[in-house]
Every structure is written in C-alpha cells, then in structure tokens.
Point group: C2
Chain length 518, copies 2
C-alpha cells in the first residue's frame, strides 16, 4: 500500500510497515506488548499544511497508518516512532479528485443541518443495527441490502458486541467470532487488542462507505449485562488506549460519525464502576469528547446519545450535533434545536416491532408518524425494528440486522425522497399552520410548503394555504398518499381555504409558489 501513488480526495491513504512482533522470546515468554510499547505516528504534509496521524499495531508484526487527505495535490509523509525499524520511513502520494460517489465526510451545515464536505446536502435517514457487523456474511449481505433498499443512510452500530437478556426468559445475543480483547470473559487483557475483531468492524464500515451510508459508530455502551463483562471494571488508562486504537484504525474512513455512547445517562455507575466507559458522569464523557476533538485528524461528527428525561447534556464546543431518544419527535425536537442551536437527531423514537418491551412494539403507523414528525420539526431521526419472527427469534433487526419485516421502511423511504426533492435545509417548522399533533407544516418563506397529516387529523377535506392576509399568490400543489407512497394528484391553489381537497389519511402535500402575483 505504501506504493499507492494516487489517492482520491477523502479516500484512505494507508502506510503498512514491518516492525517489532510479539513473537515469543527465548525461554517462551511473550515479547513486549506492541500495543503499548510501540509508538508510531505519521506526519503528512501538503504545502504549508501538516497533519499528525496516529498509527496502530495490526498484529503479525505489521504497523499501519491511515490518513484521509482533504486537499488534492501532492502529499508527503514521514514516520516517527520510538522503534528504529519504523522511525524515518517516508514517502509521497498524489491526492486526486474524488469519484462521482464520493462527497467526503458529513459536516454540520448552517445551524441545524448536515452536508457532505463537497457541499452536497445530506439528509440522514437512520436505522439501527447495533451488532450487525459480526453476523455471518449471508446475514450481513441481507443487512446491507435492507439498508440500501429503503434508503437508510446512517446506521447506528456498536464497536463492542451486544447482548440483551433478562437472565430468565429473554436471551437475544450472539457471541462474536472473536472478541476485541485477548483473554476470556471476566478476564480480559485490556492492553492487548485482537486486530481481527477490529479489522472485521472496519471492513463493515467500508461496506457502508461503498454504498454511500454513514456509520454512526457507538464507542461505548453497556449492553453486556454480565454476559461477557466487556463493559465492566475498565481503568481509564485502558479506555484511553482503546480510544487511541479505534481512532487510529477508523478515522480515515470518511463515513464515520462518533457517537460517544448509547444512553450514557442510563449507565448504572454503581453496577459497572471502573473506567469512564462505564460511567454516567458527564465529566467522563466530556473527557472523551475532548479527546476526539483533538486527536481525530479527520474531525468527524461527535455526539453523545442521551435520554433527556433528566438533565440535558451540556452544550459543549466539541459536540457537533444532538443525539437523543424519546417518543417525542416534534415539540421536544424543536426545543432541543432552540437550546443547542445545533442539528438534532432523534436517535431512537422506539422501534417498530412486536416484542413485549415498550421500546420495541410500535405499530408501522406510529413509527411512520414519529419519524415524519421529527422531519416536520426540521430535524432528523433514526428508525429501528424489533420483530420477533417464528423463524428466528434472535436475528432481530435492531441488534443483528438481516431482513426488515415492518411496514414503516417503505414509507420512510418515500418521505426521504419527497423531502430531499425540496430545499429542506432552508425550510423551518411553521407551528402556526398545524396543531403539532396530527397536522404539521414546514416551509421556506412563503415559497415552498410541506404539510403532513395523520389519519387522526380531523379535517381531511380542507386546508389553509398561504398567509391569510395575502391571497395574491397561487401555488402548484401536489398531494401524496404518504402511506400508499404515491402521488394522488396535482392542483393549482390560491391562498386561503382550499375546499374538498380529499386528502388521504396519511397525506403529504407539497406547495410551490407560482412565479408571479396574479
């Protein structure tokens, strides 16, 4: 890979070097620990620009540095290491224009939205597949097909394996083929990573990237529940070591987002104790956030997933956007937009499914309405699915991916197609035109309107259009059945009361102002 001459902008430049291995010394004892004893960094330079990029040990005596160049042109690199075998290695490559499907990493755009680095707006339509990465290839292929089929372009996924169970009736978990650390459950050596585990994870991130899908990588979580003890009893030095390792491996993937935790505020300190990865103390998450802000050379998006049932996570400079969970996707999302003045994503409004737990038994209708409501608040959301099917009660999509069974995904895809054809980033919620419960309105000035109504809205046979005092504009209107996912008809409406528009139960209505005054 060192020989790579051309790397596209926002692609991955990788240096691989042979270095000290952990081969047994004479006498049978292992050599020094390459994960902790060997330091390796590359300095990438481009004109007057220089970027320090940490490297990592990938096992078998191989050390790697990965870098995502953000400017086209000639880049040079030089290795610095405390080991003579690595120190001083150097080279150069040319960063060329990106391919047509590569728009770069996603950044915050304006106050409440996202765009790719090349300026293309990005509308996140999230779904959840926490541990899809370590299922067999056939299942993974189905997962990828499911993501793409329904237009999901941001996947919430965990680095560490996931277990769910109550110790009695429920056991929804698969062991991964290998674990992230050497050792056995209860006795992990947290200074020795298992490169194969991380290699698999980053290949999955690459699978997503190749399909234009963002990987919302959740760095810490507590869904271990005593199964493997991976979340328990770490020391802070271990956690920093892990952060350094995962950043070095993943940061060069342009589609990475850092989600520091899932449900950080639900972590039970007393039960888990130990390092800051098992803490709900905000100071600990602050430390992680700051670490990423200063050590990730690619400056990926950073959030802390929270359940804002209690106090809110403070609005910190390193926090690029707000990630929260709640069935509240409209008024709460708007409140969070106002408070943080950053993009807001409802990253769990409960999952469509049929399991007994409240978080996993939304109807397709309720799932669809909740997601629409988030969008009508000028925000974003993440779907999830928890169907327990007779064939396989464990490959529940929310955890392990596979096939989607629910009714909401095609409706969400339809919503995304509709909304991304509008100037969504320039549109804001108009609370004055709906009831905020079953009728919602989003608009760009008086030029473009989007209405959404649920079957519970009372008046499907009328709509007020435009400013009431105006009356001088006309609109090209298109009425969509947001459940059947099709256009119902178009019309030309004047400002004021539209009579007998005969909206379908789930209706989406797009209005575009005609060129001139009549």
């Amino acid at each position: 890979m060192n020989g790579t001459r051309n790397v596209e902008r926002w692609g991955v430049h990788e240096v691989a070097l042979e270095g000290p291995s952990e081969a047994p010394r004479s006498g049978g004892s292992r050599g020094s620990n390459p994960f902790t004893a060997v330091r390796i960094t590359a300095r990438y330079t481009h004109g007057s620009q220089a970027v320090e990029v940490p490297g990592f040990y990938d096992g078998d005596g191989v050390y790697r540095v990965r870098f995502m160049p953000e400017s086209t042109g000639r880049w040079s690199w030089a290795i610095r290491s405390n080991r003579p075998e690595l120190q001083g290695a150097r080279g150069a490559f040319t960063c060329v224009r990106p391919g047509s499907k590569n728009h770069g990493p996603v950044r915050v755009a304006g106050r409440h939205h996202f765009s790719y680095a090349d300026g293309t707006p990005f509308f996140p339509l999230g779904t959840t597949a926490y541990a899809w990465t370590y299922r067999p290839e056939a299942v993974r292929r189905k997962s990828l097909e499911s993501f793409s089929r329904y237009g999901f372009n941001k996947i919430r996924m965990l680095v560490f394996p996931k277990h769910y169970g109550d110790g009695k009736n429920v056991d929804i978990s698969y062991d991964p083929p290998c674990f992230p650390y050497e050792g056995i459950p209860g006795s992990w050596d947290r200074t020795r990573f298992v490169p194969a585990y991380f290699r698999n994870f980053e290949e999955r991130v690459g699978d997503l990237r190749d399909r234009g899908i963002e990987a919302d990588v959740i760095l810490f979580h507590f869904y271990d529940f005593g199964k493997w003890g991976l979340d328990k009893g770490t020391r802070r030095t271990d956690d920093l070591c892990y952060l350094q390792y995962i950043t070095a491996r993943l940061a060069a993937y342009r589609n990475v987002w850092w989600s520091l935790a899932n449900e950080y505020d639900l972590i039970d300190n007393r039960r888990l104790g130990g390092g800051f990865a098992s803490s709900s103390d905000r100071k600990d998450w602050e430390a992680i956030g700051r670490y990423l802000a200063t050590h990730d050379p690619a400056h990926h998006l950073r959030s802390v997933h929270q359940w804002p049932f209690g106090p809110l996570f403070p609005n910190r400079p390193w926090l690029t956007h707000v990630s929260y969970q709640s069935p509240g996707t409209y008024s709460l999302l708007m409140e969070l937009k106002g408070r943080y003045r950053k993009p807001v994503i409802n990253d769990e409004y409960q999952y469509e499914g049929n399991i007994p737990m409240d978080w996993g038994n939304c109807s397709a209708e309720e799932e669809t309405i909740r997601h629409w409501a988030a969008v009508m608040a000028g925000g974003y959301a993440t779907h999830g699915e928890a169907f327990n099917t007779p064939k396989n009660h464990r490959d529940i999509f929310w955890s392990y991916g596979g096939r989607l069974h629910g009714g909401s995904p095609p409706r969400l895809r339809f919503m995304k197609e509709l909304v991304t054809a509008l100037p969504f980033q320039e549109m804001g919620p108009d609370t004055y035109k709906g009831d905020g419960r079953n009728l919602f309105c989003l608009r760009k000035d008086s030029e473009v309107y989007l209405y959404f109504m649920t079957p519970a809205w009372k008046d499907h046979n009328m709509l007020f259009v435009g400013p009431p005092e105006g009356g001088t504009w006309e609109y090209d209107a298109v009425v969509y059945d947001a459940w059947a996912c099709r256009k119902v008809r178009s019309a030309s409406w004047k400002c004021g009361l539209v009579r007998r528009p005969r909206f379908p139960p789930f209706a989406a209505i797009v209005l575009k102002r005609k060129g001139g005054r009549r």
Copy 2:
C-alpha cells in the same frame, strides 16, 4: 345611588344626575345630541390618590358615572361638565372590605398566569357564547346555569349582535330586541346610542359577576355578514365615540376583560372599509389598545384575538395577554408563551359539535384532548359548542347559549378541579417526559408532577417517574380516569419505571413527592 354611603372594594360606585334631555325643541326638531354635546367626568379622590372617571348619557335626561374603588377608606367625588346642570355636583362614600366572593378584577400574575387583585390565583376555564346576552330571559337563565354547572369562569361574548349565515342554506341568527344605535339597518346614526341595548348588556355582565364569572367582552367583530350592516362603513370618530361610551358604562364592573376583536386578522378591509373597527390594519388595533390602556380607569386585561396563521400581532406594552385561535394547543401555545412572555389563552381550538363547518364539529374526545393539551403547556383555553339539535337549530351554544349537549364540559370541569388543587402557577411543561402528542407532563421542580395521556398513547402500562439518575425519591401517586372523571386509585411509586400501572385510556396522574429521602 348618589346616596350610597358604603361601597365594597372592587364594587361599583355610581352617581346618577339629571341633566339636559334630548326632548323635542319647540317646532318638533330634536334637541342637541346628549351623547356628543354633553361632556361629563368625575374626579374621585382618596387621600393623595385621584382618578378621572368618564361618565355617560343613559337616556331620559339621566347621566351616570361609575367607578370601581380599589382602595378601602373614604373617597370623594366631584363632577366636571360643560353643562351647568351637572358641573360641580359632589359627594363622598366609604369603600369597605369586599364580600367573601369578591376577589377583585383579574390581573396578570408572574409571567404566564392570572390572579385576582386580592392574590387568589385565577384559572380561566373559558367557554364561548357570543350573543347569549340578548336572548329571552329563560334562555339566558339556562346559559348561566350551563356556565356554572361546568365551572366555566370566562365567557367570550360580543357587544354587538351576531349573525351567521352564508346567504343560502345557513342562517343562524336572532335579531336583538333593540339595536345599539338609533336608526335602521343600513342607516344607523352612530352618534346616538340606544341605552337599553347597553343596559341589557351590562346587566348580563353583572349576572356573570354575581356568579364569579369573568366577561371577556369582545369590542369589535365582523359577524354581521351584511345582515344589519353594523360592522360596515363606520368612521373613526364614531368608533372612538363607541369606545368612550362602552368604557364609561362597563369599566366599573370588576369582571370585565377587553378583547379588542375577534379574529382581527380575518377582517376583510376591502369589503368592510371605513373606521378602524372594520380593519385588519394593526395600526388601528394599536390605537384601540392604547386608548383602553389610557382611558380605562380600572385597567382591565386587554387582548386582541388573532388567528396566528400569518404574521403575529406585535408584542405591545398595552397587551396584557395573548388570545389566539388554532387547533394547536400544545407546541404552538408554548411557542407563543416564549415569544410574548405573557399569559397565553387559546381562545378557540374549534368547538365540539355536529355542524358541517370544520370549526364546529370536534368530537367530545378531541375537544377534551385539545383543552388538556393547552393546560399541559402551562396555558389556558376556551371551550365552545356548536350542536345543531332537532329542537332548535338556531340556539347553538357558541352563539346564543342555552343548554350544553356535548361530552366535553364535564371532563373540562374535572380537569379544572384537578389542576386548581395543584400549584398550577408554579408548574411548567416538561417536554422531556412525554411525546407532545399523546403524553404530556407538567411539573413543579421534582416535587409535583401532573401527567396526562390520551387513548392514542402507546404505553398505558408503564410510566417513568422522577429523574432517571435520581431514584432516591418516592411519590404519592393518584391515578384518575380523566374521561370517567373519577379517581381510579392511589399508590406509592419510587423514581424510575413504574410497571403495570394499568392507566385508563384518558389518564391524569398526580404525583407528590414524599417528605424525605428514603
């Protein structure tokens, strides 16, 4: 009445004087117009305090001045007039402590609430009976019984008569026994009031006052629709003359609120033209608001009822609170609270009823939910009813009062009883604990919680209580069936997830924190 020696605080002191009449002059022509030619004012003094109070002509050569004393003790009064018969009349009275049911006029309390002048909190539970005042006594008695039976304590009512009709199929109107002006439809003499019309109106205001009900008096409206032409073609001088007259007659009634207009922003300037009473120009309503702020000696509450579909009415110093109409009672109401930083009342969220018009066919359930949602936003609302019954298709409650037929009034009464037993003025909406659509939470710190859930809320078999990270508090919980209007049971709940509380479809839950930590 001049002989009245004792007037209770916030009662009415009235001076009646004989003065020039409009008796025919020799030759049969009428005398000069007492409404415009005679000026009369009283100066009330109390220690160093002095209040100028305008008087009015009440017909038959009688002139009156009415005054609401706000301080106990001895008051003197002296008349000033351009007519020698009136000039210089004087007297005195003693203002004594109010009776037990007299709490004074309602004022704004804190930022978003109301209290009587004596400090007693006032929770407005409004209803609408625009033109109940001029129906026969038997109907009026039914109206008053209806108001009291369901605890409605603020009635939205018009000074001018009301017609509703489309000129074809719909004709919902009664002529009043007499009209406010001399003349005939199409040819009103707007400089000559008919005292009997106003006397009847103020007697109705008195009926309400005696039952502890506030009269939300709507000064201007356009529900004439060509029937009598009362809203059309006035001059500004006429309108000022009317404002002076109505203020002089009514301001001494402690239960008066001034609602400058109903739906000021829906007035069609082009159709109505003329004086500012028939204008949607904000400058005109500004002029009226300023007039009242400076000329009403009792400083009653002032609002302009608007449909905030288009631009909002500006936040003016003379505006004491926000009055608006919309099906949006939760997110919109909260937004208006934030924008105006004043109390907000949704003064029409549509009426329970069975008429074809969208504004008059809410189900009892929807009516109840909309009103509850306003209260759960820390605001207030006004009910209305539009049932077309076989017996009488014209005495529709929203217009003419009478009997209530709907299902919402008993539920609203129940809501009011429940909420007023809590420290409502100290409670704020907690958007983090509900979904803002079907589950709502209002709380005072972590001491007192009120939850409300609709039948559409998904999880009636669980509830999260208290802060998630806390877990050290316990609450005395009472579960109410907000539809059956009864207590279901009490319980003691710890912070965290409450399992299987078996909430009724319409549930209201009150939590009060127990004294100490466990």
